[in-house]
C-alpha cells in the first residue's frame, strides 16, 4: 500500500496489542527472542488501529 505502520523498535515492549487490533492478517509478526513486533509493509493498509492501541507510542503511520 502507499502508507504503512512503522515500529520504533527501542520503544516496543512486545505486548502484542497491535497484533490483536489489526484487521488484516499477518501484517505483524512477533519476534520471540527479541520480544518485538515487525511490520510487513506490503500487507499494511495504514489504517492506524495499531497506533491507537499501542501503550508506548512505538508505532507511527508513514509513507512506505
Amino acid at each position: 500500500m502507499y502508507v504503512t505502520a512503522k515500529v520504533d523498535e527501542p520503544k516496543c515492549i512486545g505486548c502484542k496489542l497491535c497484533i490483536f487490533a489489526c484487521p488484516d492478517p499477518n501484517v505483524f509478526t512477533f519476534v520471540k527472542d527479541k520480544k518485538k513486533v515487525v511490520v510487513n509493509p506490503a500487507r499494511c493498509k495504514g489504517c492506524g488501529l495499531c497506533v491507537s492501541v499501542c501503550p508506548k507510542d512505538a508505532l507511527v503511520i508513514g509513507n512506505v
Binding site: K16, I19, C22, P23, F30, K32, V37, G46, G48, S52
Partner: protein, 287 residues
Amino acid sequence: MSKAMFKMTTAFADVMPAEYVELVQSGPFGQGYGVADLGSFKELIEEHPLCAGCGLALAVRLIMASLPTPEDTVVVGSTGCSSLAFPQIALQNIHSLFGNQNAVASGLKRALKLRFPDKHKDVLVVAGDGATADIGLDMVMHSWSRGEKLATIMLDNEAYANTGGQESGMSPEGCVLYMAPTGKKFKKIALPEIARESGCAYVASVTPVQPRKLEKAVRRAILVAREVGPTYVQIFVPCPTNFKFKPQETLAKAKQREKDQTYPLREFITPEAQAYLAALEGGGKHD
C-alpha cells in the same frame, strides 16, 4: 478433513504459491493455537479487499484464530462485506444465497453427522446483520427452534454496508446512513434476547475491543453447538466507511458503545450448557 491434506508433494514444493507453503509449514491446523498466538503462525485468512480499519475484517480475523479445530470446521457465509473475505480463507466454506445461510448450514450439519457419526464437524455460520436479523431471520429463528447444532455468528455493523449504507433491523434508533438520511425510526432488534428465548443454549454479545473475550465466546459457541444445541454470538464491528469516522477510530467507537451501555456485552448460558462447559473448561488452555 484429514490433516494430511495440508501436506505438500515435495516435488511440487518449489512451484507452490508462497502463501500455501507458509500455511503448510506454519499454519494452525492441529496445533491448538488461539488468539494469544497471533503474530507467531500463518493465519487462516489471507490478504482481503475489505476497507482499511474495518471492524468486520478484524472480527473475522479473530474468529479464524479462535476455532477449536479448524481442520474440522466448515463456515457458511452470506452476501455482504464478509463475503469478500471468505474466498481468502483456507477453510471449507460455502457462500449461500443472501439470507439462506442457516438453512444451508442446517442441511450441511445433518449431512456431516450422517457421514461422520463419530467425529465433531463444526458448522459455523458467519453473516452480516442484514443477512441474520432481516432477510435471513426466518431461516435463523427456525434453525434455533428446530435445535440445529450450529454456531451462528452475526457481524453487526448496524447497516447494510456492502450495498452503500441502508438501515438494517440492527441499526440503532435515530441512526443516519447514506441511504437512510432521515434517521431510523425504530429500535434495534434485541436478537440476543430473541436467541435466548428461541432455543439457543449459549448466547453472547462481544466486541473486538477485548479479543480474548471474543475468542472465549466463539469457542464456547462452537463447543456448546457440538453437544448441547444452537448457539449465537453477536459481534459489534464498527464500519468506518458507512459511519464516516476515521479508520483508526474503529476500536474507540466500540469501546465507547460498551462504556455507555448502548452496546451491552452479555452472556446467556443454559444450565445444561453451563455444566457441559464447566466439564470441558476445567483448567483448559483457552479459558
